[in-house]
């Protein structure tokens, strides 16, 4: 089913492309030796190169190139062995040199693709147009002084990747799925932390609308949207606005807009009488960047297993449902945790415990997988006790809660609390006989054909044995005497 928005004149499709700015994880900046780390006192992570002092020159950071190539490989994209840096010229207070160094005409990464999965299980492929490296700008602060804005250049020159998608996205949900998937891939690769709150990942959203079967209409660009939720909202809001404009007989102007989440609207950024003319040209301070195929190959060999591959392997290797596998590969750390638990054990049982009880516990305690109160080894140890029938599933839940609280191992808890499963047929038979004697009326009813009562007897026996009985053996013993 195509997603559409109903207007006065009928249904409208939406067309969306995303430009994601992702901060490259590196120690130093793209063209200077100043620290690229977040925070820091104002204007301390700044070299004279970043501040654009006369005679200062850029020198390219090799790791940033490697990170861009890794990302390109992760997006199954073409790596351009020759790329170039251009200058994008414009004046702004937080742009010290008056130009941003960016790869306009010859990006390091060409076409690629990202596979996304929607809530109903639909799989779609979103095309990647290109990925290029560029410099971040500094920060202007407008609230400190009545007449002046203050400038901090700590971010100026930090390396960014701009990842541009094809206009393949057709609904807000796809936009959200695309961004989550992109973030997941970047995090797997270790090339960007994907932290949208700190601004290390932000999106420009290109939106247009059209009637089914039409070519593309004019698009608007919503700048600098800093959460996935806002991206999804802004698409809907902007598409609705455009539909109104068209249906009222107007024209949508190609322009840059801002999304205001508090008012749930987009508004035009004052378009100045002189539209931007960036006067791109190759940066004469930098020569063409040439990378060797051997280096690209080596970087590829060093890549971690990517989420899609891992998901498919989990399905195949562990026999777990695709949905569970998708959940488990959401983050590298979760996947690693799961694999440690699943290795050599009942992998489906492991998946149930991780996605069920463990996730629930993490949620409740506000922790993440990396500081989980129960380690993978500990959870595995508990599952071992289930598998060798030391404890049954019900007791396992109790043990799990105890592990969460005390941090003790499952074995220690079973020992301390005497929770070892009873497999002694004599004890079970005795309990069965006792339950039957005390519920003679129910036995009559059962024998008279009330099969549903079987569960009652199991429950009574388990209760009598403080839950420690092996349920299968209880079933068997009951069947025999009933």
């Amino acid at each position: 089913m195509t997603y559409t928005i109903e207007g006065k004149t009928g249904a409208w499709e939406i067309v969306v492309g995303l430009e994601v700015h992702a901060q490259i994880i590196s120690h130093s900046k793209l063209f200077s030796g100043a620290s690229a780390s977040y925070g820091g006192e104002p204007n301390t992570h700044v070299s004279l190169v970043d501040a654009g002092f006369p005679g200062m020159l850029p020198v390219l950071n090799q790791e940033c190139v490697a990170q861009a190539i890794r990302t390109g490989l992760g997006l199954r994209a073409r790596i351009n062995l020759e790329s170039r840096f251009d200058r994008k010229n414009y004046f702004y207070a937080d742009l010290p040199t008056g130009y941003q160094i960016s790869q306009f005409t010859h990006p390091i990464v060409g076409e690629g693709t990202v596979e996304i999965e929607l809530g109903d299980g639909t799989v779609r492929h979103i095309g990647i147009t290109r990925l290029h490296m560029e410099q971040d700008a500094g920060k202007s602060m407008h609230d400190q002084d009545p007449a002046r804005s203050f400038i901090d250049l700590n971010r100026a020159g930090v390396a960014l990747m701009e990842i541009v998608s094809e206009p393949d996205i057709r609904c807000p949900e796809e936009a959200g799925a695309y961004l989550r998937k992109l973030r997941q891939i970047l995090r797997y690769l270790g090339t960007c932390d994907g932290n949208m709150e700190e601004g290390s990942m932000r999106a420009d959203v290109n939106v247009s609308v059209r009637k089914a079967g039409e070519p593309f209409r004019t698009r608007c660009e919503i700048k600098n949207v800093n959460s996935i939720r806002y991206v999804m909202h802004s698409i809907e809001v902007e598409a609705t606005r455009q539909i109104e404009v068209w249906e009222d007989g107007g024209e949508v102007d190609q322009e840059t807009r801002l999304f205001d989440p508090s008012r749930n609207e987009t508004r035009s950024l004052r378009s100045k009488e002189d539209a931007h003319d960036y006067r791109y040209f190759p940066d004469p301070d930098l020569l063409p960047l040439v990378v060797e195929q051997e280096w690209v190959d080596a970087l590829e060999r060093g890549l971690p297993e990517l989420p899609d591959d891992k998901r498919d392997r989990f399905v195949k290797e562990y026999g777990i449902p695709r949905y569970d596998a998708s959940v488990l590969v959401a983050e590298q750390a979760i996947a690693d945790y799961y694999e440690e638990v699943a290795k050599g054990r009942d992998a489906r049982l492991a998946a149930n415990w991780v996605t069920g009880d463990l996730f629930g516990a993490l949620n409740r305690t506000g922790r993440t997988i990396t500081d989980s109160p129960i380690s993978a080894a500990a959870l595995g140890g508990m599952l071992d006790l289930v598998s060798d029938k030391t404890i049954n599933g019900k007791i396992a839940k109790e043990v799990f809660e105890d592990m969460l609280e005390t941090g003790d191992s499952a074995a220690a808890i079973v020992e301390r609390k005497g929770l070892k499963q009873v497999t002694d047929t004599g004890a079970i038979d005795a309990a069965v006989a006792d339950v039957m004697a005390r519920n003679a009326d129910k036995v009559e009813e059962y024998r008279g054909g009330k099969d549903r009562l079987f569960g009652f007897f199991v429950g009574q026996v388990m209760k009598a044995m403080a839950g420690k009985a092996n349920p299968a053996m209880v079933n068997e013993a009951l069947k025999k005497v009933l």
Partner: protein, 95 residues
């Protein structure tokens, strides 16, 4: 190609060089003089000729990803025309 007064004003604006209306005719004349003179390049056949990129002596070098610079705020701010504390300043920008 020749520049009209509107284009002179537009490029002055793009270059952030303030000009008075009275400057326009002279600038227009000078720039058109230069542009007229460089028109001679139209005689040159550049079919299939690649543009010069770099100087052909070397490919781009890279540096290792090590923090070697920064933490020099005094130097960074040493020539600021109007610094306040650790910041540069500009007339208030309304966004």
């Amino acid at each position: 190609m020749s520049l009209d007064p509107a284009t002179v004003r537009r490029i002055a604006r793009l270059a952030r060089i303030g000009i008075d209306e009275s400057d326009v005719p002279a600038l227009q004349g000078e720039l058109n003089g230069i542009l007229g003179w460089v028109e001679q390049l139209n005689e040159v056949d550049v079919e299939g000729v690649p543009p010069m990129v770099g100087t052909g002596h070397a490919a781009l070098r890279t540096r290792p990803d090590v923090v070697t610079d920064g933490n020099c705020r005094d130097a960074v701010l040493s020539n600021a025309p109007d610094g306040v504390g650790p910041f540069y300043t500009v007339p208030k920008v309304v966004e």
